[in-house]
């Protein structure tokens, strides 16, 4: 991977506690020598929060579709009488 992507990978391991996460001391040392690392990590954390929000939105959409399939339409009254 090119260096920019490797950097995303490094930060991801740290934030998501991946198998290649650095020990805390080493991560702090890296931040000392790399002035932008902390800010980049904070920005990447925001991306993960946004992805969670987007994922929830998609899951809700899928659940609405499931609901409509199970309980909407012309047989809905029948399903209400005999829930499946």
């Amino acid at each position: 991977m090119r260096p920019e992507l490797e950097r995303l990978h490094l930060i991801e391991q740290q934030l998501l506690n991946g198998p290649a996460a650095l020990p805390a001391g080493e991560w702090q040392l890296r931040q000392l020598f790399d002035g932008e690392l902390a800010a980049d990590a904070a920005a990447q954390q925001q991306l993960y929060h946004g992805l969670r929000a987007a994922g929830r939105q998609q899951l809700r959409q899928e659940l609405r579709q499931i609901h409509a399939r199970l309980y909407g339409g012309r047989w809905a009254w029948l399903r209400r009488l005999w829930p499946m």
């Binding site: 992507l5 995303l8 990978h9 925001q46 946004g50 929000a53 939105q57 499931i66």
Partner: protein
């Protein structure tokens, strides 16, 4: 899988079912647990829409616990789901007693309420940029980071030659998202 979700499957079985075929596993859970939640909510003065909202909130919580491996099942999945929904509905009833003229908060608010307000606002702003990514990138990121699908499954489903190729693509998509969010936030800062 048909019988496994109805009794008390180990959480790992449930997780595998959700990862392997989300639509099928969720449909089965929905069919099994929703009627009980609807009865519960309607017995306590709620509408069919209330029942749907509360149940779907519960299913989102349940899904996240299951795929993140934090779910501990001591009863059947549907019993657990009904219990989450009951808890959320009681919470909603208390909220309505305090604020009788306000409607059920929308889905995002209900689940994001546990997060600090500033973080929540940023998350919603970033969510809009996720929606603007192309379908391929958007699905790749959501399947990996939210739906917790393994990269082997993502690689196979999307025709990548190897997990390595899928990994590189995933980081390219994350880089695109970061660039678009950064550009937007910089513009906002300059405008202020």
């Amino acid at each position: 899988m048909t019988t496994s979700l109805l009794s008390a499957p180990p959480a790992t079985t449930l997780r595998q079912a959700l990862l392997a075929d989300r639509a099928r596993a969720l449909t089965q859970l929905y069919r099994q647990a929703f009627p009980a939640v609807r009865r519960l909510v309607q017995r306590q003065g709620g509408s069919a829409q209330d029942a749907q909202d509360v149940f779907q909130d519960a299913l989102v919580v349940f899904y996240e616990q299951a795929v993140l491996g934090t779910l501990e099942l001591t009863a059947s999945a549907s019993t657990y789901l009904v219990s989450i929904a009951r808890h959320r509905w009681q919470h909603e009833l208390r909220r309505r007693a305090r604020l009788p003229n306000e409607a059920l908060p929308d889905e995002s608010d209900a689940l994001a309420a546990e997060e600090p307000e500033a973080a929540e606002e940023t998350a919603f702003a970033v969510r809009d940029y996720v929606e603007r990514l192309g379908v391929k990138c958007r699905d790749m990121l959501l399947n990996f980071y939210y739906f917790q699908q393994p990269l082997t499954q993502i690689a196979e489903a999307n025709g990548y030659r190897s997990v390595r190729s899928a990994t590189v693509q995933k980081f390219k998509c994350l880089e695109r998202l970061r660039a678009s969010v950064r550009a937007a936030f910089c513009t906002e800062t300059i405008e202020y």
